[in-house]
Symmetry: C2
Subunit: 156 residues, 2 copies
């Protein structure tokens, strides 16, 4: 049986990424998504500041388990300025991940809603993301629908 205290909503605080989150397992969390690699404190700080420079145009959010001081979910959204749609803006959601130890607590949904609301609040006419076929039902529950096919070209 699931530990009932595990899912207490007040244990999980959603907020923007902070520089101290490197020490709270942010990169270990991302490594559940894909290759993360070794990142020094200096490299982390530099990348954090580069992203922060974009302000609301590039927002990374995290959920912290405040009892443990551990980052257990994350996702990012950045804003693309277009000329189409009367010089519209499109939100791009990337790198949504939930720690394997806290799956089933709707934390992924909270992250996606937080990112979607952010994109809406800064005036985007749409928000898009790419996901596996397996994750399609999850995003449909979040109000997304299938549109196109993602294509990729790797350089390394």
């Amino acid at each position: 049986m699931q530990n009932p205290s595990r899912g207490d909503a007040e244990n999980f605080r959603i907020r923007r990424l902070e520089i101290a989150d490197k020490g709270k397992g942010f990169l270990e969390l991302l490594s559940q998504l894909t290759v993360c690699g070794a990142v020094s404190d200096e490299e982390f700080t530099e990348r954090f500041e580069e992203v922060a420079k974009y302000g609301d145009e590039h927002m990374i959010c995290v959920i912290e388990d405040v009892r443990l001081g551990k980052i257990v979910a994350s996702g990012s959204v950045f804003v693309e300025r277009k000329f189409i749609r009367k010089c519209g803006k499109a939100g791009h959601i990337e790198d949504v991940v939930v720690d394997s130890s806290v799956r089933g607590l709707q934390l992924g949904k909270r992250v996606v809603e937080y990112l979607v609301n952010h994109a809406c609040s800064v005036g985007c006419y749409k928000v898009i993301l790419d996901c596996s076929e397996d994750n399609k039902p999850f995003y449909e529950k979040c109000g997304f629908m299938k549109k196109e096919v993602q294509m990729v070209k790797y350089f390394v």
Copy 2:
């Protein structure tokens, strides 16, 4: 039979978007892609300068038919700074379009190669885009492969 002069490569110059391209049919070209809407000179200039501020992080390229002084193809790429992949960067290609009057001259391929080379030159580990099933073979010829499913949520 196709007019042989129509396809002369030297007639078609590829370069970054310039502010004067509004007067060369840039927005009319984009309207072949999707809803573009009325954009005043002031709105165009404002958006142009917002994008220019990002420098090499957001590059819009065009192909001009220099005989006609007309923009006949376009595409954009912007660079997302990530924490995954050792603080890697991902290129996002958007809004690739070729004027219906000059299809079949490999201008789309030139645009995509220009955008891909740009993403590579600024250090991206990959470049991604979303396309219709119909356009998948075109992007495969450009060296892309299918990865995931694009999901969208519209606000307006």
